[in-house]
Symmetry: C2
Subunit: 343 residues, 2 copies
Amino acid sequence: MIGVAMTDDNLHVLLRARPAPAVTAGLFEPVAAPIPTVGEGQFLIRVVWLSLEPAMRGWIAEAANYSKPVPLGTPMTGFTVGEVVESRHPDYPVGTVVQGRQGWRRYAVSDGTDIDRIVDPAVAPISTAVSVLGMNGATAYVGLVDVCQPRAGETVVVTTAAGAVGSMVGQIAKRLGCRVVGVAGGPDKVRACRDEFGYDAAIDYKATQDLGAALDGACPDGVDCFFDNVGAEQFDRVLERINVGARIAICGTIGMPSFPLPTGPRPNRQLLIKRARMQGFIILDHYDRYAAIIDRLTQWHRAEPFRWREDVTDGLENAGAALERLLAGRNAGKALVRVGPDP
Amino acid sequence: MIGVAMTDDNLHVLLRARPAPAVTAGLFEPVAAPIPTVGEGQFLIRVVWLSLEPAMRGWIAEAANYSKPVPLGTPMTGFTVGEVVESRHPDYPVGTVVQGRQGWRRYAVSDGTDIDRIVDPAVAPISTAVSVLGMNGATAYVGLVDVCQPRAGETVVVTTAAGAVGSMVGQIAKRLGCRVVGVAGGPDKVRACRDEFGYDAAIDYKATQDLGAALDGACPDGVDCFFDNVGAEQFDRVLERINVGARIAICGTIGMPSFPLPTGPRPNRQLLIKRARMQGFIILDHYDRYAAIIDRLTQWHRAEPFRWREDVTDGLENAGAALERLLAGRNAGKALVRVGPDP
């Protein structure tokens, strides 16, 4: 544990500009700030891990997305794992590890309302509280289990299959008895899909001349469930191959530019002919079930550990550059910033 | 009742060619055929009404749609209302009115397996057994009640709002306490929406310079449920206005050419941001519930009669021309062919 007294440098990283349209490190500015004092009913968190999300592109965009954009001149928002280093709150004694929404800052005061859960370091490395056993795992769970409702023996296709969410979709789908096919970019990610995450087949969309033919080969019985993070051409090729009664979860649109809205083949007739369902979801709507979902994931993990990859950037001051890398698809695994050492 | 002995001319209308790509009367050929003999367990139906459906474009197209295409050289398939004129089946005595799938022919023998239901002529004119209290009403019910799941006070938008299905969606949605907005083409259809079918607002998409602005005016609280029969630009403009948690039923794509597949704005991000659901459905999948749905519609009708419009073409030999008219949008109300006089 690093005591509060060891530093008075409470680095913040502020959002200074909107994407134009690319998200670059230059949109963010690290600034020094004082460590806040802890009032009655509050506690001080030393942030250890900062989670980076593809959705952050939407969080900081001018156009209203599913939440208000992060205001300019304020610390970037984000999910964190941290350690309580000072406390005047009975539920969060010093030494407690918490997963919360402290944002891009080294220290944060909390009254508990921006805490998602207390983390048991004995279950898994605490960084997993913002990945496999955190928001990414819960996102995979809601999109796959609730939206797609897969049945054993069905074929599930996942895009960004080696990513933080996709790799959990694949692993959960395998636990549910499905045939699981991943689409990812590059030989390293495809290898991870096959060798680490247990996909039955994985397709490198960057190396494949004909994604449709590759999907035909990997999905001889068609596609029953489709968990999509991409949109664009990958979406089109999978949609062409859905079975009657297919369910499509729209989790992300990383392959679609923010502006202008791209065009593509209209899906209406295929959805009609196949009596298929296409549904967007956002994990934050399911916050009331978050604890139960994490419990379920933890049970699965204890029975047969999940696999994950982390792409760690050291230093909060480098968070903007790390986000730029993530949104350019150059990360390999869950994008994390190590703000300080594990407790 | 016209006795069998009064005619031996059992006209059939055969499908002779595939759409290229338009559906024209010339694809069909009326031919004379003998009246079939009635075996044990069978009965002879004199067809009175023939129902025409926009979906028939898909039924006869080369490309496999949701069912096998109607084979060339065979009578066109279709829903009918007829009268039993000869019977060797205890459940269907002479004089029974039946709604079935006898296709484009004047007389047909049945063993009951191609009968959907026995029609009570006291409830409503028997032609309604293929419209308001038939497949069109059931289609409206499944798409609105099951797929869209509207709640009282929500806003429902319906395209082809004055059509056989659309007008029933509007009337059912009013009975469920919704604000109901119709989109239709031409002043006569818009007037019917407002004055006959009870829509709260109706928009003439052909006369409106800015459909989006017209929808904004008609839907001040946004769109919660969207029952779409059109696709194309009408779909796009409504999609832009959906609320969080919206439900979209895809019932038809009459505004989209059959081939090639048209492009349009990708809906993925809007479905994601609005956590919305878009689902295709086909009434034939819900055949097991057909009787129960017709019972529900009949209860509603007895409490407060549904309104409908019929666009009647006389003579089975004119069915092809009537279908051409329907698919060109020149009908006004449910497209029916009167094959013979009511019993």
